[in-house]
């Protein structure tokens, strides 16, 4: 397309702006498909919530630095243990956010991929003596295979079918692990090695490995979400037909989101196996899947800071509120309903606009 043809035609734009505004509302209301109007005022702009801090480019590095520095601040085994738990949970939430937040697909069996990762690395390391690090390629392959198996048939269907099939898949994986002798049955696997201690206290060594992996995972997931594929995920989330009309192969795009989520879950499973040293089927029940989903939803679907904060809150809260488990889950459930009705964008929503900086640089003085 030649640049010469580009010309501006918006001179009289402001003159009728008022009239357009008026019609706009009516027509937008009429444009709704289905019974109601589409998304009335959901996700107001992020302006109200800590805009400066959240938009800052130093937020990510700052939090990462704080995470890496933790052992210098407090290295008690208790703190290190719950910090590793929390970090693994962050990784799971960030992975599920790709599927749910970016692409708008509800996965209710995300713990299945977590289990696939943990069991694959656990089996290879305990039964065949592989070093844990060497199991990673197999874990990735197994997670992808699981994603293909479930995504293949269901991603073509209406999105709510995916939700319930993933729920079933989560159960299939857990029950299978429980029934097979090979996977240790109800007792699971034990004696899973770590990544090595690098001359440090072994839990601190694992903490650093986990922290580095999780920080990279958060970074990569966020970047993936902003790139070409990430945009395609959002297009599919917003309007599949319109995305198709732009030449976007929506089935493949959804598949990519599902597989990416699976890989993140699988890798989190490796960290979990190393951290727990013993794994068993109840660690991967529906409660886990639901809690990860809650971290994503309450934190803010599609928002990296929101999801990280949500994951930290949900994994650390139990440490503060020990004992009141059933009450806690009851409140979580109610919170999900309340959040969807009153604040579907979550507590720290995804930034609605985009940085103007880049636009201005490229565009020069055009505006």
């Amino acid at each position: 397309m030649n640049d010469e043809s580009t010309l501006r035609a918006g001179e009289e734009a402001s003159a009728y702006a008022g009239a357009v505004e008026e019609r706009g509302r009516v027509n937008v209301a009429l444009a709704g498909r289905g019974v109601g109007t589409p998304k009335p005022n959901r996700r107001p702009s992020a302006g109200r919530t800590l805009p400066g801090v959240l938009a800052s480019r130093w937020l990510g590095p700052g939090v990462a630095l704080a995470a890496l520095a933790l052992p210098y601040l407090n290295s008690s085994t208790y703190v290190i243990r719950i910090a590793v738990d929390a970090l693994i949970f962050v990784m799971l939430a960030v992975g599920l956010n790709i599927v749910v937040g970016y692409c708008g697909l509800l996965d209710l069996g995300y713990a299945a991929f977590f289990a696939i990762g943990a069991y694959t690395s656990g089996l290879l390391s305990t039964r065949y003596g592989w070093p844990l690090i060497a199991t990673i390629p197999v874990v990735v392959a197994a997670a992808v295979a699981g994603g293909l198996l479930i995504g293949g048939p269901t991603l073509r269907l209406r999105s709510d079918y995916l939700a319930i099939v993933t729920l079933g898949f989560g159960e299939i994986i857990r029950i299978t692990a429980n029934n097979l002798d090979f996977t240790g049955g109800p007792d699971g696997l034990y004696g899973i090695p770590g990544f090595g201690d690098f001359g440090l206290r072994s839990d601190i060594a694992l903490y650093w490995v986990t922290a580095v992996v999780v920080c990279l995972a958060v970074l990569f997931a966020g970047r993936l979400g902003r790139g070409r594929l990430g945009r395609a995920w959002r297009f599919v989330r917003e309007d599949e037909d319109a995305a198709e009309a732009m030449g976007i192969h929506t089935y493949r795009v959804k598949f990519a989101a599902y597989i990416a989520g699976a890989v993140f879950g699988g890798l989190a499973g490796v960290l979990f196996a190393a951290h727990q040293t013993a794994i068993s089927p109840p660690s991967f029940n529906f409660l886990w899947s639901a809690l990860i989903l809650m971290a994503v939803v309450l934190g803010g679907m599609g928002s990296t800071p929101g999801v990280v904060a949500g994951a930290l809150a949900i994994s650390l809260l139990p440490e503060l509120l020990r004992g009141a488990e059933n009450w806690r889950y009851l409140i979580f459930g109610l919170l999900l309903i309340v959040a969807m009705i009153f604040r579907p964008q979550g507590l720290l929503p995804a930034r609605a606009g985009e940085a103007r900086r880049r636009g201005r640089r490229v565009r020069g003085g055009a505006s």
Partner: protein, 299 residues
Amino acid sequence: MDHFIQLVFSGLFVGSFYALVALGYSMVYGIIKLLNFAHGDLYMVGAFAGFTVLSVGAGALGGGLLALIAIMLVAMAATGGLGVLLERVAYRPLRGAPRLSVLITAVGASFALEYGIAVAFGPNPEVYQMGVSGGTLNVLGARLTYAQLAMTAIAVVLMIALDTLVRRTRTGRAMRAISQDPKACLLMGVNVDRVISRTFFLGSALAGAAGVMAGVYYGKIDFLMGFVIGLKAFTAAVIGGIGNLRGAVLGAVVLGLLESFSVAYIGSEWRDVFAFGFLILFLTVRPTGLLGERVTERV
């Protein structure tokens, strides 16, 4: 051969449980295209409602079939009301919202019901103090208990009642109309909100009835008992063709039989894996179900 018939009977029996729950799933989906994840939990609440009645009025009721029916009616009223409340509070404000929001709300509702019951009754299983008399009957060499027969009969009566209601009454006609085109119904003066409420009442009440039957039959209930049955009911609804009521019953019977045979030949520990695997297979091969019609997806 005796063994075969025994398996068929137990499949039909389990299938009739599934059918009661699947009907509600399918009705709600048919009318507002919502997968009500909390539906299985309404079944669980029904069981607990029945348990409450039983523990309060245990002496007065005696132990016969009439007592069972009385308990079921109370439980059905309670779960029906709860279903209406759930729709009013959680789902109605989100009509027209993105599908993802509604699904997440349904997950939240399911969670809230499960752990609400866990808070109210404690997390441990409760024992149903109602052994329906243990007589047995021999049919074609298979052994059936009277309890099984009575419950299957009640389930069939409920299903016939629902079918009649949907096909013969004004409410039923309105329900079918809304499932076709809610907007047109609104324009034609159908009170859509009221019909949806009634749909939730009926579906939830049937689930509640199934919950009481499960409590009586298995003798034990717990706050997570609705999770798996919800999945099974959905599977049944998909097999039959979701949104189609007779399909839901057919799907439930098919699933019950499949499970009955898989338990016999593969082992009971694989029953759920088999059922959910079958769900995935069915969605791959024939997502519209046995009785579902092929619909052209319109832009």
